[in-house]
């Protein structure tokens, strides 16, 4: 009789503990997420959400809507426009001077003036493009770092919400993607853009090399596009399959618990569902906040690259109007380099956003 009472007491205590569990779990997970990402969250995002403590809560996430992203994009545009205008003025001024120098009819002086003009335009452009390549490389490094930190958080939340197979499979494919992209960014981005720049510079003297630059650019973007598509397909399909496997597995466990363990089996099953519900919401909030962070960090760089590209495009067109073919060709090539840099940054960002959306949208298995 005493043994029966003991069993009943243990059952009651266990049930009360299970009822309290979801709240504690959510609080602990939020704390863990904050600790993992605290160094990587931009100050503006934390501020907009109402502080770091409120960032991964429902109220905090509500503050980070489309309006916030548009406001950040507007701020980035405002910050980027002044330096880009200054760069355009510099390039346009140089084009004007080169145009004035082109009016010299002395055949012996004109090539030397043309050489000085080419050198100055090339050096000025190099300084500009080098700054942008450094910023793009730093951004990609930040993005891979952020996604590596998110990988841990995603694994944790997936495991807690009963998606053990998703945590293992999608986590490993994410890790593979991150390694591939990190290596591309580290060993290919800067050397490739610099090689294209050097070829563009040489092609101002010999226009025949322009085709090689275009070939390298097209080949690289095609290969990168293919790799991105492959990685996205692998992550997407593995995630879908793993989700089904998780769901199937958890249903079997819940059915077994509910059928074979009397009384407590059903309670455990319901408690697990409650936990999963809470964690599922936390997962959605984390995914959404992750997408917002990715956008807030990437948008200023993309806007700046776009504006700089427009400045070079305008300068190239002005040079063409003045009939300075060499300067027009060179500036046009630099514009194409900006196209490549924009493509690379956008591809990396899209890839990470895709993974975050998959994570946020994935349903809990319980």
């Amino acid at each position: 009789m005493t043994r029966c009472k003991m069993k009943a007491c243990i059952c009651v205590i266990l049930m009360i503990t299970l009822l309290l569990f979801p709240v504690q779990a959510e609080e602990n997970f939020e704390e863990q997420i904050r600790n993992s990402l605290s160094d990587l969250v931009p100050a503006e995002v934390a501020e907009a959400a109402g502080g770091m403590e409120a960032l991964f809560t429902e109220e905090g996430a509500e503050q980070l809507g489309v309006g916030f992203i548009l406001r950040m994009a507007g701020q980035a545009l405002g910050k980027a426009i002044r330096p880009v205008l200054s760069h355009f003025a510099m390039l346009f001024g140089m084009v004007l001077i080169v145009g004035a120098a082109g009016l010299m009819k002395s055949s012996s002086i004109e090539p030397l003036i043309s050489l000085i003009c080419t050198l100055t335009v090339a050096l000025a452009s190099y300084n500009l493009i080098y700054d942008h390549i450094s910023v793009s490389a730093a951004l990609i490094e930040y993005l891979t770092g952020f996604m590596t930190a998110m990988h841990g958080v995603m694994g944790l939340l997936w495991s807690v919400s009963g998606n053990a197979v998703s945590a293992a499979v999608t986590g490993s494919s994410m890790l593979l993607s991150l390694t591939v992209l990190e290596n591309i960014a580290k060993f290919m981005l800067s050397p490739l853009l610099m090689l294209c720049f050097a070829l563009s510079l040489v092609s101002t003297v010999s226009g025949e090399l322009r085709g090689i630059t275009a070939f390298i650019r097209t080949t690289f973007s095609t290969i990168l596009g293919f790799i991105m598509m492959l990685l996205m397909t692998v992550i997407g399909s593995q995630n879908a399959i793993a989700q089904s496997a998780d769901s199937n597995l958890m249903r079997t466990i819940r059915f077994a618990a509910g059928t074979f363990i009397p009384v407590i089996g059903g309670a455990v099953s319901e408690a697990a569902r409650t936990i999963a519900g809470g964690v599922g919401m936390l997962k959605s909030i984390t995914g959404t906040v992750g997408v917002v962070i990715l956008l807030v960090v990437t948008l200023p760089v993309i806007i700046s690259l776009f504006l700089e590209r427009a400045a070079f495009h305008l300068a190239a067109e002005s040079a063409k109007l003045m009939g300075i073919d060499s300067a027009s060709g060179f500036l046009g090539e630099i514009k194409n380099l900006f196209d490549l840099a924009i493509g690379l940054v956008c591809a990396f960002c899209m890839m990470f956003i895709f993974s975050m959306i998959l994570f946020a949208k994935s349903s809990t298995a319980v």
Partner: protein, 126 residues
């Protein structure tokens, strides 16, 4: 309308030169030189405000490249004007020497730029 004024001056100087060449041909190059100096100064005065306005927008470090371009443009204008006057005066040899001097000056001007470009190329290879 400065352009109309300068076009008028050019036509007056031309008529004057045609007359002088018949009366006193030895001073014709001097008149031509004076007119060239006036026109060069006017051209520089017209070009400078635009360049200064654009240079004001450009960054400090980037604006340094302007000085190279302006110097090259100035050297080119001076050398060409001097060489043209010498050629008009029938001193072709002197004109070619002035052009040679101008080329040397331009090469000297291009030297720091070439050095910077080579340093950049070295940095790229490293």
């Amino acid at each position: 309308m400065d352009l109309v004024k300068y076009a008028g001056i050019a036509l007056t100087v031309l008529s004057f030169l045609l007359l002088i060449k018949q009366i006193k041909p030895e001073i014709a190059p001097l008149v031509s030189l004076s007119a060239s100096v006036i026109f060069m100064t006017a051209a520089a005065a017209n070009l400078l405000p635009t360049v200064e306005f654009l240079a004001g927008y450009a960054d400090g470090a980037m604006g340094d490249y302007y000085s190279y371009l302006l110097k090259a443009l100035g050297i080119g204008m001076i050398v060409q004007t001097a060489a043209d006057i010498c050629t008009d005066a029938g001193e072709g040899a002197l004109a070619s020497k002035i052009e040679l001097l101008g080329r040397a000056e331009l090469l000297l001007l291009a030297l720091p730029l070439l050095k910077e470009l080579l340093t950049t190329a070295e940095g790229m290879i490293k």
